[in-house]
């Protein structure tokens, strides 16, 4: 049997390889994701390790348990300036220094264009003497004060600056012209921190840039131990010295912690990529199932002969399973190799979306090998299980029958269709329940799954009617080829359905994303329009991803002709007994002047104004969650560890995307560590404001209300683009499915094609017939997918609070048309092969 297995694999080498392709793409994305993740994680580990090299102990601000995570480095988490001396004076400490970490935007030579942004941060660090960390100067010297700064080599290059040049840097205040005195490289020799800009300045300069005061001065204090003292001993000594003024960790622990924090922050990324890889693999399993089903059917006589000659079922099954295993292994190995191509691809893709990732040498972990092999093998074995079983069921007598009957019309098996119809109905009911009766998103999710399953199982029964309904138009449009294409597609409904099913899943997801994004945009636009009263809005030029300088609000307010200006920011607080709650910060004056508008829940006309210091408006949903009413109080902890008791003033309507959680004015928010404005709302003349802030705040974008809203809404399209790019892989796999199925069908129908050619069908007509068959298959998948995707997006959308479901009919039509055209593209090669069938060989074939 082994010889036979090897022979039949060799005889069908081309087919084996093509079937493997179905696994290759999915596995390649999985392997690529793992390689990519392992590589960036190693890089972050190295950064964490090198940044505290030589440092025995690190003191960070003490935060009470339950303090929420902070998104900002201007959150008031800082140690008093005098604490550095106390640490230095502790026994076993040889030397201690404080370090300031903040944000410093760096501009290109023109002083206007920001370097980086939208993703990698712009980091400001105060200098440390030798022995702290692993930073060295490749040229120039460390900055010593005044206007002196140093850059990492990458940033210096992008700024086209050399040592001695004037450079443009902006901290919390206006942009400053500073002098570049040194260029830095990291400990391992790398010149870049993954697209982030690094600006070094002497502590006093850094404190100025970061807007620090003496009581909140250092981000952390680093200490070097005396000779012979272990890091733990030094830590114990420092802990005794600072008491509860700070948290004390060893340098090693702090480095690990820092690396872990970064890894946690980007952990969603590999998860997201793996989900898309999983989809591509799942779609690929359709292809494998179909290929095996068809080839097993074609080889019935071969198996029957084996059985007649005395092979038992187990032997036949072993042989077939052996073939499947080979396909799986080839697919997994090629996929792993593909991973090395995909990993840099992922990096490039993310870079294209503005999220650069640092990297060192590529990490190929054992885990990658194991996962790739397991996935490749498992998928192939599962997908080939049913076809293999069918192969063993062949009666030996089949071998003695006359030449295999020409493939006729395959029946639609009723059982699965019935099961599918039931599953689909249950799914629809669940989705409907979620929509109408407000059942949970979980119920909607289960319903969605059932709907997909139902669609897959029912689709064979839809092939016939679809082909029949297309038959007449196809015939009148294309004559006989159109007619035959319809019949051929309907001939093996199961096969056509599985082929189009793969496409259906891909397209359902694409349409889901499209519809969801369209809804999101409408929702966002509606929300923002309702809330925004200001005629002019200022944001960071990266679309408001990073915060603005705090001093900008005051600068704008001083512009002649500006009546009012106020910042809007976002953050979170911990609520006693309830975990974190989102915070929306709106400048009190902006509320009073109507630049930002809130709607009270009680329906009264008076828009809530400034809630006042120590007081808050609360959105309806959050009020329900926290059991709050007008007049009640709530205990919160800010990101800086400060505790406050807030009194609720008014319950206001929440908007999913603009105003959420607890609404505070800027003073209350600042006390809780939320200080960065993300948007500044202004009443004044746009051009005048733009001119006024252009020099001091070049990164700030001054927009009219409408332009700003369009810009915000347009960001959804960027995200949609990324999702499209990742789903494209699944569509490609599904298209391979069309190529493969058509190819096998053509092989099966060689004699028919020969006959058609013999009685006078031109090659063109044959090619057209195959292309139309592909169109029918693609159209079935596209239509089902579009309907499914739309229904699911609409269902999920309605379960979300305040989400406006919209119907982007034009986009859906375009997607269906594109998919159908891709079907034609997939048919090109099979169609050419069909047209080139040798008439003599075809009609002579037994």
């Amino acid at each position: 049997m082994r010889t036979l297995l090897l022979r039949s694999l060799r005889a069908r080498a081309g087919r084996t390889l093509k079937t493997s392709l179905a696994v290759v793409l999915g596995v390649a994305l999985i392997a690529g994701t793992l390689i990519f993740t392992d590589t960036i994680n190693r890089t972050f580990d190295e950064i964490g390790e090198t940044s505290y090299r030589g440092v025995a102990v690190v003191v960070t601000p003490a935060l009470p348990p339950g303090t929420p995570d902070s998104d900002s480095d201007d959150d008031g988490r800082a140690l008093p300036r005098t604490l550095a001396q106390r640490v230095a004076d502790a026994p076993l400490v040889r030397d201690a220094r404080g370090q300031i970490e903040g944000t410093a935007l760096v501009f290109e030579r023109d002083g206007r264009t920001r370097i980086g942004g939208q993703g990698p941060p712009s980091i400001l660090l105060s200098t440390l003497p030798d022995g702290y960390g692993a930073i060295s100067y490749t040229s120039g010297r460390p900055p010593t004060g005044g206007d002196e700064v140093a850059f990492d080599a990458d940033t210096a290059e992008k700024a086209e600056a050399r040592v001695g040049d004037t450079v443009h840097v902006q901290g919390e205040g206006p942009r400053r012209a500073m002098r570049l005195v040194g260029i830095v490289q990291l400990g391992d020799g790398s010149t870049s921190f993954g697209g982030a800009t690094l600006t070094f300045a002497a502590p006093e300069t850094a404190a100025e840039l970061a807007g620090r005061s003496d009581d909140r001065y250092y981000s952390e204090i680093l200490a070097i131990g005396q000779e012979g003292a272990s890091d733990d001993e030094v830590a114990a000594s420092v802990r005794a010295a600072v008491g509860d003024a700070g948290t004390v960790r060893t340098g090693q622990a702090q480095g690990d912690q820092q690396a872990q924090d970064i890894k946690d922050a980007i952990a969603f990324l590999p998860t997201m990529l793996l989900v898309f890889a999983g989809i591509a693999t799942f779609v690929g399993s359709f292809l494998i199932f179909n290929t095996f089903s068809i080839t097993m059917a074609q080889r019935q006589r071969e198996f029957a002969l084996l059985r007649a000659l005395g092979a038992d079922r187990r032997q036949v099954r072993v042989m077939v399973t052996g073939e499947a295993l080979t396909v799986g292994i080839i697919g997994a190995v090629l996929g792993m190799a593909g991973g090395f191509v995909v990993a840099p691809g992922i990096r490039a893709l993310l870079e294209g979306f503005g999220a650069d990732m640092p990297s060192t040498a590529t990490v190929f972990a054992g885990r990658t090998i194991v996962v790739s092999l397991v996935v490749g093998l498992l998928v192939t074995l599962v997908a080939s299980w049913a076809p293999a079983r069918r192969a063993t069921r062949v009666a030996p007598i089949e071998a003695l029958r006359d030449a295999a009957a020409p493939p006729g019309r395959g029946a639609v098996r009723r059982g699965p269709v019935v099961v599918g119809a039931i599953a689909g109905t249950l799914g629809a009911v669940a989705v409907l329940l979620a929509v109408v009766a407000g059942a949970s998103t979980g119920v909607a999710g289960i319903g969605a799954g059932l709907l997909v399953l139902g669609a897959i199982l029912v689709s064979p029964a839809l092939v016939g009617p679809l082909a029949a309904s297309l038959s007449r138009p196809l015939r009148s449009l294309f004559g006989l080829p159109g007619r035959l294409a319809g019949d051929n597609a309907a001939r093996q409904p199961g096969r056509t359905a599985v082929t189009s099913g793969a496409l259906m899943i891909g397209l359902a997801l694409v349409v889901f994303a499209t519809v969801f994004a369209a809804g999101l945009k409408d929702t966002l636009r509606g929300d923002i329009e309702r809330v925004t009263g200001a005629p002019v809005v200022i944001q960071e030029a990266d679309g408001g991803f990073s915060g603005l300088s705090r001093s900008l609000v005051d600068a704008v307010a001083r512009v002649p002709g500006v009546d009012a200006a106020g910042g809007v920011g976002f953050g979170r607080v911990a609520v006693d007994g309830h975990g974190n709650a989102p915070v929306t910060v709106i400048d009190g004056r902006a509320l009073e002047e109507g630049l930002a508008r809130l709607e009270p829940v009680d329906g009264s006309d008076a828009a809530p104004g400034d809630p006042g210091d120590g007081r808050a408006h609360v959105t309806e949903g959050t009020a329900d969650d926290l059991d709050l009413r007008s007049g009640s109080t709530v205990e919160v902890t800010g990101v800086n560890g400060e505790r406050r008791t807030l009194t609720v003033v008014t319950l206001v309507e929440g908007t999913a995307s603009a105003v959420t959680g607890i609404v505070l004015n800027e003073r209350t928010a600042a006390e809780l560590g939320i200080r960065d404005p993300y948007f500044v709302l202004v009443d004044g003349d746009r051009d005048a404001i733009a001119r006024a802030v252009a020099t001091d705040y070049p990164a700030a974008e001054v927009l009219s209300r409408d332009d700003w809203i369009s810009d915000q809404v347009g960001q959804v399209d960027q995200l949609l683009g990324l999702v499209y790019a990742l789903l494209a892989l699944s569509i490609v796999v599904a298209l391979f499915g069309i190529v493969n199925t058509l190819g096998l069908s053509i092989q099966e129908r060689t004699r028919e094609l020969g006959l058609l050619r013999a009685v006078g069908a031109t090659r063109r007509q044959v090619r057209r017939m195959i292309a139309l068959e592909a169109v029918i298959t693609a159209l079935l998948g596209a239509l089902l997918g579009a309907v499914l995707g739309f229904v699911l997006a609409a269902a999920v959308g309605t379960t979300l609070d305040g989400f406006a479901v919209s119907v982007p009919i034009g986009q859906i039509v375009v997607l269906v048309v594109i998919t159908t055209l891709l079907g034609v593209l997939a048919s090109l090669r099979p169609a050419r092969r069909a047209a080139n069938v040798d008439v003599l060989v075809a009609i002579g074939e037994e």
């Binding site: 030449a403 020409p406 019309r409 035959l484 001939r491 013999a758 009685v759 069908a761 003599l840």
Partner: protein
């Protein structure tokens, strides 16, 4: 020669190289007059199928010329050749003559449909009546017996009123009763419609339906004359294949 609807001059075709070289057609010349049923016989490898494929435009000879209905095939590209087959030649193969997805009637008019023409209704009715299909015209091939299928194939070959019908072992897969029906049908096509039919067969009984018998051996004609009855055919075959007879 003006009455010859199909003529072949000096056809030569070889397969393989060196030791495995086989001469399929050895400078063979033959003509088929309009109207009349010709049977081509000969042992396996005598070149009868190759001859038919070459004169029917399915295959090309290494040298020599083939003229069908006044058209020299050697000058035609694939598209022109395909159109010639479609419009001027009818085919009946041994097996697998019909497209399984089409009904009997649709199969009959297939060459016309491919050409984008519709069948003359009277002619179609006459054909269907002649092949005795009657109420089975809307059945698919899988619902027809082997004999019925083959009769549909003959009707299809006649549908476009081609210059010539080539039948390659048309009764090869049929029982004797069905064979009789199919052969009778070909005979009637010649007698009633004035059709020209060339049939390759290895069945002496089938050949006895013909007006003219050609016997091939090693790529050359060894007998060409009237067919006569079944016994006469046997005698001529014997004579042709016995080397001592010459």
């Amino acid at each position: 020669m003006s009455t010859e609807i199909v003529s072949a001059v000096e056809l030569r075709k070889t397969y393989g190289e060196g030791d495995t070289r086989v001469v399929a057609l050895d400078g063979l010349s033959v003509g088929f007059a309009s109207g009349g049923l010709t049977a081509i016989m000969g042992p396996s490898g005598s070149g009868k199928s190759t001859l038919m494929h070459c004169v029917a435009g399915l295959d090309r000879a290494d040298s020599g010329t083939v003229t069908v209905d006044g058209v020299d095939l050697s000058g035609l590209d694939d598209r022109r050749l395909t159109e010639l087959r479609r419009d001027r030649i009818g085919f009946v193969f041994q097996a697998f003559n019909l497209l399984p997805v089409l009904t009997a009637e649709e199969n009959i008019v297939l060459p016309l449909t491919i050409a984008g023409r519709t069948a003359d209704a009277d002619w179609l009715e006459q054909l269907i009546a002649t092949v005795g299909l009657g109420d089975r015209r809307h059945h698919r091939p899988s619902e027809l017996s082997g004999g019925q299928q083959q009769r549909v194939a003959v009707a299809r070959a006649l549908a476009s009123r081609p210059a010539v019908v080539f039948a390659d072992e048309p009764t090869g897969n049929l029982d004797s009763r069905s064979s009789e029906e199919v052969l009778g049908l070909l005979r009637r096509a010649v007698d009633e419609f004035g059709q020209t039919v060339v049939m390759v067969t290895h069945d002496a009984h089938a050949a006895s339906f013909a007006d003219r018998l050609i016997v091939l051996k090693d790529g050359a004609i060894v007998h060409d004359g009237p067919a006569g009855g079944s016994d006469d055919v046997h005698a001529r075959l014997q004579a042709a294949s016995d080397p001592t007879a010459h």
